[in-house]
């Protein structure tokens, strides 16, 4: 039966990773695609490669935090890990279907918390959850600040459009690398925590592969659907915002705290707008982020809790 749970955990985790890749394609490549720098194939291919690199090399801290830092690893049986990933995958699928905004970082962490509560495991509220909460609240704020600073800087440099376009490509590569470093670990964290995959490098690589596949399969048509003139952002703001987003999430990844690339870019674009005197972000979007924080947390926590109770009763497993 244990093999069954391990297989279930892997499948659900990989599905979750795949949705992460598609979910964030717009956030890391949208500005360059909107500026008509890349065609869709090149954009997603570059993204896939950079994300894979980021995941393999720099997602280790995030994997450790999520996989081993929220509840002690001795509580993480394959069955429980399977429920956590199944919950993350299901909530993502349902939210995508209902078109409700979600943050994959909060979703993954609270899937673990939900199961943790159901099994009476000690949850590292102070040591892990508090810094995570600070990261999540701080993400759009730091993104805004950095977006402002970078856009001001880029705007002050008088360089040819061609050079600025090259810089924007660089910014998008950095953002894709960061996506790998910051978010792909979520999909494989419990694989590491439960001891199924023992090497951090291998876990990171697996996470990177599924995120890359997500970008290439589902992310690509979604980005294409957005079309060329839906997102209109001048190049200085695009560069500043993308660097602002990438730096914010990259710092979080180095500290070991996963966060939302979407919320980082919302903040960063807001900051870019402040720097350029343009109102890119409506107040409504800010409200949505705040709602999103709570929806992601509460919904995933609850569903994980009950999913564990139900399956544990049905299958008699722990």
């Amino acid at each position: 039966m244990e093999t069954f749970y391990i297989v279930g955990m892997i499948i659900a985790g990989l599905f979750f990773g795949w949705t992460i890749g598609s979910h964030y394609t717009g956030a890391v490549m949208g500005t360059a695609y909107g500026a008509k720098i890349f065609d869709i194939r090149t954009a997603t291919l570059i993204m896939a490669v950079c994300a894979l690199l980021g995941a393999t090399l720099q997602s280790h801290e995030v994997i450790k935090t999520v996989g081993a830092g929220i509840i002690p690893i001795e509580y993480l049986t394959p069955f429980r890990a399977m429920i956590m990933m199944l919950n993350a995958a299901l909530v993502t699928a349902v939210n995508t279907w209902l078109k409700l905004p979600i943050s994959t970082a909060q979703l993954a962490c609270f899937s673990i918390v939900g199961v943790g509560l159901a099994i009476d495991a000690p949850i590292a509220w102070g040591k892990t959850m508090l810094p995570l909460a600070i990261t999540w609240v701080g993400t759009p704020l730091v993104g805004c600040l950095l977006g402002f600073i970078f856009t001001k800087t880029v705007g002050a440099v008088k360089k040819a459009e061609k050079i600025k376009r090259a810089v924007l490509i660089l910014a998008c590569c950095y953002a894709s690398f960061t996506l790998g470093a910051n978010n792909s670990g979520l999909a494989v964290s419990v694989l590491y925590g439960s001891g199924t995959v023992k090497s951090l490098l291998l876990a990171g690589f697996i996470g990177g592969v599924v995120v890359a596949i997500g970008a290439l399969t589902w992310g690509r048509p979604l980005l294409e659907k957005v079309g060329l003139h839906i997102v209109q952002l001048e190049i200085n703001s695009a560069i500043g915002a993308q660097f602002g987003q990438a730096t914010t999430a990259y710092i979080a990844a180095l500290l070991g705290y996963p966060t939302s690339m979407n919320q980082a870019i919302v903040g960063a674009i807001g900051g870019a707008g402040l720097a350029r005197g343009v109102k890119y972000i409506q107040l409504k979007v800010v409200k949505e982020i705040v709602i999103n924080w709570f929806v992601s947390l509460i919904v995933s926590g609850f569903t994980a809790y009950f999913l564990y109770k139900i399956f544990s009763w049905l299958l008699g497993a722990k």
């Binding site: 956030a27 048509p221 979604l222 209109q232």
Partner: protein, 282 residues
């Protein structure tokens, strides 16, 4: 039958050339073109979800600017034009606007797309063909790409250069047949008639083909007729390539819902897999 056309556009690379090629339908009765741009609610949702800035007013402004170019061209060709910008689900909006505007034909372009993209997103054109009761002219982009480089006015005779009419003798095929004289007026001079035999006797089919051949020759077409064995959609696609037809004309059986999803009709498959432009009549 061609008097009023709905032309939904996303301002893709070949959107304008296709529109230009439509002006030759004037001699087939075209009087008015309705240009439609649908602000795709799913695209807006995804862009917003990705944290990207979306300004609907700005999108409308840009769209209007782009439409002006189309508008000027059509007006200089003495066609009436109406421009519309709506928002919602793209396929539904196109079908709805076609009904509101009471058009007689919907014209769309279609990329040859990656199979994976089809799987996840599906194509707007396929959706329109499935949902709309109106005839749909699907202009394949890469047919135009082949003749790109030459004068854009060349699109006109090229789109209607050689018509392949595939018939199964059903009432749907008969309805499609009525478009042939109009296509002659639009510049078509060559016609290829194809019947893929699944049942019936050979003599009977040949007799019908001959009668049809004579009928089209009377209009002024240079006609060849062919009786083939095999899977209809595959044979039609192969034959269209072999004969270098520019347009496939065929009727569409509105198959039942389940059957339509599972196997698709012959016309849907031809539309999907052929690299030729297709006019589907329901």
């Amino acid at each position: 039958m061609f008097s009023k056309i709905l032309y939904p556009t996303k301002f893709d690379e070949f959107s304008f050339p296709i529109l230009k090629s439509l002006t030759c339908l004037k001699s087939a009765g075209l009087r008015e073109i309705v240009l439609l741009y649908v602000i795709d609610e799913e695209a807006i949702y995804y862009a917003k979800e990705s944290g990207l800035p979306v300004d609907i007013e700005q999108i409308k402004k840009t769209t209007n600017e782009k439409m002006m170019e189309y508008l000027d061209y059509l007006k200089s060709n003495e066609l009436s034009v109406k421009t519309k910008i709506t928002s919602g689900k793209v396929v539904n909006e196109i079908v709805k606007e076609a009904e509101i505007e009471n058009v007689s034909l919907i014209v769309t372009g279609r990329h040859k797309r990656h199979m994976i993209d089809e799987l996840f997103i599906g194509s707007t054109t396929d959706g329109v063909v499935k949902k709309s009761p109106l005839p749909v002219l699907v202009v394949k982009y890469h047919t135009i790409r082949m003749i790109e480089g030459k004068l854009t006015e060349q699109f006109c005779p090229n789109l209607f250069r050689k018509i392949l009419y595939a018939t199964d003798w059903s009432e749907h095929s008969e309805r499609a047949k009525k478009y042939i004289p109009l296509l002659y007026n639009a510049g078509a001079r060559e016609a290829v008639i194809v019947h893929v035999m699944e049942d019936g006797s050979k003599e009977e089919n040949e007799k019908k083909l001959n009668a049809l051949k004579q009928e089209l020759e009377k209009i002024g077409f240079k006609v060849t007729s062919h009786l083939i064995h095999g899977k209809p959609y595959r044979e039609i696609i192969n034959f269209a390539s072999q004969e270098d037809a520019s347009l496939i004309l065929m009727g569409c059986h509105g198959k039942g819902f389940i059957k339509g999803i599972l196997i698709g009709s012959v016309s849907q498959r031809v539309l999907e897999y052929s690299d030729r432009s297709v006019l589907i009549v329901k």
